[in-house]
Amino acid sequence: MFKEYDVIVVGAGHAGCEAAAAAANMGSSVLLVTMNMMTIGQMSCNPAMGGIAKGQIVREIDALGGYSGIISDKSAIQFKMLNLSKGPAMWSPRAQNDRNRFAEEWRMTLEGISNLDFFQDMVSGLIIQGNKITGVKVGLGIEIRAKAVVLTNGTFLNGLIHIGEKNFGGGRAAERAATGITEQLVDLGFQSGRMKTGTPPRLDGRSLDYSKMEIQPGDVIPGKFSYTDTPLLSKQLPCWMTYTSGEVHDTLRKGFDKSPMFSGRIQGLGPRYCPSIEDKIDRFADKERHQLFVEPEGWNTVEVYVNGFSTSLPEEIQFEALKKVAGFENVKMFRPGYAIEYDYFPPEQLQLTLETKLVQNLYFAGQINGTTGYEEAAGQGLMAGINAHLKIRGEAPFILSRSEAYIGVLIDDLVTKGTEEPYRMFTSRAEYRILLRQDNADFRLTERSFNIGLAKKDRLDAVKEKYMRVDEAVKHLKNASADPNELNPYLEAQQSPGVTQRVKYSGIVARPQVSLIAMKNALPSLKDHFEERNIDDNDLTLAEIQMKYEGYIKKEQEVADKLGRLEHIELHANFDYSALKSLSTEARQKLSAIKPRNIGQASRISGVSPSDISVLMVYLGR
């Protein structure tokens, strides 16, 4: 019934979709196996993409030729650039999405890839010969062969849903859990663990009184994620904000004795940064109220998502408490919030390619690796798909460094340090965040992706043209000087001191009060210069960032280059660390377990000291 595929991807969430698309677009024959064809590209939790650090990841996925950015743009109902008052490294795109349209766009996109096949069933087992995977077995008993397999099981592996004292197996509300794979992998010697996450109730928007809430509109001039020509939003839907109160908290507390979190029924560790409402009340008891965001689920639905009210308290307690929230007095609930526990595999068991160390050609991506978030999952899926394709073609692996991409930070953190709680990206996890900006993801990554055959030529050409325009703008601003008569009125308006003679534009751009675009609009000669050369405002923003933050960018680049040399000193996977008695005992153990790919990665393992690294380098004969 089935041919032998190059790559089988198990699961069709954010990770699975990106993995399948990437491998197929690079030329592999791919089979995407999902338990339910109707839930491809499902947003399991909030209907939004991006946010701080996550928006940067979406931009990176887009620059690499993934689809998360394009699909987010096509299904957005609202767009905001967060953190605009901070430095450019912090600017973070975020969109509210139409949940159904998002899933629909994913399915249409995947269906448009000719060498990508689909099959609906549960994968119940893996076919492994020696220490290499050769296919999967599905619920109907069929064995399907493949050269590589990517597992993206999300919360489905032995998923257990909790609402109050009730619990039942399931991978998502109204969807059954997947069984069999964990047990088989544990038998093979994998370590597994349990994690927990949660989601808030969904409400009937018709039952809410928005006049009691604060409106949260999108940006006046909305942006978008993709560097390609996806359309900008011409209209947007607002979100709304309201607050809990002491009364709400008191009502919720009535259910604490039935909470699966507090009673110990939930064993898995949940994320600290995405606490349930009961957790927030418990841990920050002195806080009188908490923000709640009411987010529409789409253009054509009355369903809304209550961001900030994740809970696994009994449904009647949820309902009672919601009724006490301002604007929710007559609330009708579509479905209650719940907590879900699921299996994950501590990610130290992976290589930087996301291939498992134990079983060759088997890749893991997404929540199975202990991460949380659509963006984190999609980024891993993309990298797993790429590397599965490269591996079976015998080509060199594709690994992004920590100074190249948040995706590089993400995977390096997972593989090198592991994670105790669901791992979410923060900008503070990246030591080179001034380099890893959302504006330059295409500059950082598109050529890399083109070189492995994923990003298309026209995409790369567009990037090159764009950065030529940016360079030209920077060059002009550094070399040409402004006429005081033309410049001074603008400076005066910005309460910035005037100039008495001709000065270089770059000196003026460096001033904190000066915005390049505003200055250009105020100076006809500058405006004409840029217009003649087709240098648009987007290009000027990039030029301005390069100039204003030059010192910091340069400094970080220097550090990255310096430490980057360590990344090029490779360590062989079967290097015998136990024989090196000059290493500390802890270093010997950690290095043997993690098997770092290079000296740079080894130096980031906790317990491996700089002197251990020196010892290693001595043995490498450097």
């Binding site: 946010g51 701080i52 008052s85 901070k86 912090m90 908490h290 503070s428 001034i434 500390s584």
Partner: protein, 457 residues
């Protein structure tokens, strides 16, 4: 391990000697030394050929520190395989330290244990069969350095640095909070308060940095005052330590009427011993002046050896006098009670003041114990000292780096730089302090945020 830096360290044994050799190795060795070395006879360091020697002076902002010979080795024809310069300077500990500090201030870093050898190995100057030996050297050197550092950290210095680091970490967490969680309902840091906090931290860092009194102490020696009742054997002790008859010793109480000073070098550290007139009530004017001076020298000392004998201990005078001296001495001064004339005792009496050393200056027994205490103090300061003194060159270097980074943070606050840039400078400052206390990790920052603020929707 970063081969891109230029390192400098003493190549000869530390301590006083006729001459000492300081070695500088790395890509900017010529540049670093060029800033502070002026050859005589119009010669130029940067154009000097390998295997030649230049004679000239070492200058700190125009102030001459020493006249030296500089041996020139152009990489790869050097021990390390890099550009290497060896300064032969005069052997006083003071000169050695001044020159090293001068080099560290001008772009070189203190070399780690075994680092010259490691570089030699990395650059293929040593045989591969020597790998093991080099590895052991690094690991052993590191253990010693680690043990030393730990010992220092146990004292007040470690507490102070840890406290600072925590404050800085909290400050960073506040900045990171507004970067990563700007959409959350939390209060963000007031820039004015942040500035006060950074200024405070920088103040402490600078105070610690300035306490790196090597220059001063090395120039003059660590002042050690020997005090006690007349005839307790102060002069005998000094003579025993100095191995020469410097002070006038006699059986007539009050023989020493003036303070006498001499310098003794122990383990590379100079100690300036001050013998004082005995402390007693007297009508003799000359002797009274001497006693006044004794008190003054107790106040100025880093270490006071309070000397007494069994007789006065029997008479019950010791506790009172010990307390009197402690009251007179500064808070950071270490007062060591020393019971002399052990040769006249059959057994050590009970109830001596805490940590009393028992010795016989006459028979020169128990002196080792005393000199060990002195050396310990020189390296680590007073065991329970509140006033913290930085004695380690690497620590000084780290504090200096941290201080520079904090200056940058303050400039950033003044220019109203966005948080991500401020954070970069704070991280640099934290990294510098981490050289002393250990790792700073991003987890720690996030942990601080999650612990203190209600985050998450």
């Amino acid at each position: 391990m970063n081969q891109n830096t230029t390192i400098a360290a003493l190549a000869t044994n530390p301590g006083m000697a006729a001459i000492a050799v300081i070695r500088i190795s790395g890509p900017t060795a010529f540049e670093v030394l060029g800033k502070v070395f002026q050859p005589y006879g119009g010669k130029k360091l940067e154009t000097a050929e390998g295997y030649t020697i230049l004679f000239g002076k070492m200058l700190d902002n125009g102030r001459k520190i020493d006249e030296v010979l500089v041996s020139i080795f152009r990489g790869p024809h050097s021990y390390t395989g890099e550009d290497t310069l060896e300064i032969s300077c005069h052997g006083s500990v003071y000169v050695q330290q001044e020159l090293l500090q001068l080099l560290y201030r001008n772009g070189s870093e203190p070399a780690k244990a075994g680092e010259f050898t490691l570089r030699a190995f990395m650059n293929g100057k040593l045989d591969l069969s020597q790998a093991e030996a080099v590895a052991d050297l690094i690991s052993a050197g590191n253990q010693t350095a680690h043990a030393l550092a730990m010992q220092q950290l146990r004292g007040g210095f470690g507490d102070e640095i840890r406290k600072l680091r925590t404050e800085l970490l909290n400050f960073l967490a506040l900045i990171e909070l507004e970067l990563d969680f700007s959409t959350e309902d939390v209060e963000f840091a007031d820039r004015g308060l942040l500035e006060i906090l950074v200024k405070h931290i920088r103040g402490v860092v600078n105070r610690l940095k300035d306490s790196y009194a090597m220059g001063n102490v090395l120039k003059n020696g660590i002042p050690v005052t020997i005090a006690g009742k007349p005839n307790a054997g102060k002069s005998t002790l000094l003579n025993a330590l100095l191995n020469e008859e410097r002070a006038i010793v006699s059986d007539i109480a009050g023989t020493t009427r003036d303070t006498i000073e001499d310098v003794l070098v122990l383990d590379g550290m100079a100690f300036r011993f001050i013998d004082t007139a005995g402390l007693r009530k007297t009508d003799d004017i000359v002797e009274n002046i001497g006693i006044e001076r004794s008190f003054k020298s107790i106040r100025e000392a880093s270490i006071v050896l309070y000397l007494f004998d069994y007789e006065s201990f029997e008479k019950g005078e010791v506790n009172h006098q010990f307390k009197q001296i402690q009251d007179e001495a500064n808070a950071h001064t270490l007062v060591i009670p020393v019971m002399n004339k052990a040769d006249k005792l059959d057994s050590i009496p009970e109830n001596l003041p805490k940590n009393t050393l028992v010795l016989s200056a006459l028979n020169k027994t128990g002196l080792n114990d005393l000199t060990n205490h002195l050396v310990q103090y020189a390296h680590y300061g007073k065991p329970d000292g509140k006033e913290v003194v930085v004695t380690n060159a690497r620590h000084y270097h780290a504090l200096n780096q941290s201080s520079l980074c904090l200056d940058q943070v303050l400039r950033g606050l003044e220019l109203r730089l966005p948080g991500d840039l401020l954070s970069a400078d704070i991280r640099d400052a934290l990294d510098a302090l981490s050289e002393i206390t250990g790792e700073v990790t991003n987890e720690e920052v996030l942990g601080t945020i999650f612990g203190k603020f209600c985050i998450g929707k």
